[in-house]
Amino acid sequence: MPPKKIDIAVVVNGEPTEVAANPKAPLKTVIPKALEQTGNTGQPPENWELRDGNGTLLDTSKKTETFGFSKEVRLFLNLKAGVGGGWA
């Protein structure tokens, strides 16, 4: 029987959405879903960063279940800085 999915609230660039996540899959699998649900399809998932409520960057290669998220968890997905800091 496939593992029961858990719902994770993800705030994408400030906009909330809820993603059904497979606890046995890497956390990064929630990123494309969250992007698609919020219409942020212009940049690939690797150009986004996922943080917890304290602002700590999460290692999204780990399985979702290893984080022990509570039902009230809220994650924050933001576009990385990209190229910058130079004149050209």
């Binding site: 660039n13 400030g14 800085a81 800091g85």
Partner: protein
């Protein structure tokens, strides 16, 4: 350019600005834990105060002045500013330059490697806050910020390429300022200046 720098329908810009503010307020308690405090929001401007809660006592590091005039036909203007007086910082006054570590294989100008030798990756630190000089207003040099896209050096990286990614959204820009300017702060810098106030004497002889 239209009235007050507004070319887009002002109702559209206002509506998008209000969405930014509403979404920030929805998660205001989460953001407050990270030291992000919305001090004022009155279209087209918003002012956010950013503190460093990891220090005790926590310092207010900077204010951030957003101007969403003409959004999202144009990106928002973003300035680091004094949290109390709200004056934008000159480059020499910045409490943080948002240092970022980057890797490069390029050698400094004028240097070349012998044939057959591979370049090692160089790690360098680069400020995301850029300016022409210490008395100039610095700008946040990332896509999604008006001052970046209006700079002649970035004419090849147009706002239109980033607009639909949410590059100019309030939470995203605050996240970048937090990542490079607030979270790396791990203590207070203290200068002690000892002064000689006279001589001390040990045992007083009989």
């Amino acid at each position: 350019m239209g009235v007050n720098g507004q070319s887009a329908d002002p109702r559209v810009s206002r509506s998008k600005f209000e969405r930014e503010i509403d979404e920030f307020r929805r998660f205001a308690s989460d953001y407050a834990k990270r030291g992000w405090l919305l001090a004022e929001a009155d279209f087209p401007r918003a002012f956010v105060v950013m503190a460093a809660p990891q220090l005790k006592p926590p310092p207010i590091v900077t204010g951030v002045q957003f101007d969403y005039t003409d959004y999202d036909l144009r990106p928002p203007s973003v300035r680091l500013a004094d949290a109390f007086g709200r004056e934008p910082y000159k480059a020499s006054e910045l409490p943080t330059t948002l240092l970022r570590q980057t890797e490069s294989e390029a050698l400094p100008a004028g240097l070349a490697l012998p044939p057959g030798m591979l370049a090692q990756r160089m790690i360098q630190q680069q400020p995301l806050m850029q300016s022409y000089g210490p008395d100039e207003l610095p700008f946040l040099c990332i896509a999604g910020v008006r001052e970046y896209h209006e700079h002649p050096a970035h004419s090849g990286d147009r706002w239109e390429l980033h607009r639909r990614e949410g590059a100019g959204r309030l939470a995203r820009i605050l996240e970048i300022i937090d990542t490079y300017g607030i979270r790396p702060i791990n203590g207070y810098g203290v200068n002690l200046v000892p002064q000689v106030s006279g001589l001390t004497q040990g045992e007083v002889p009989a």
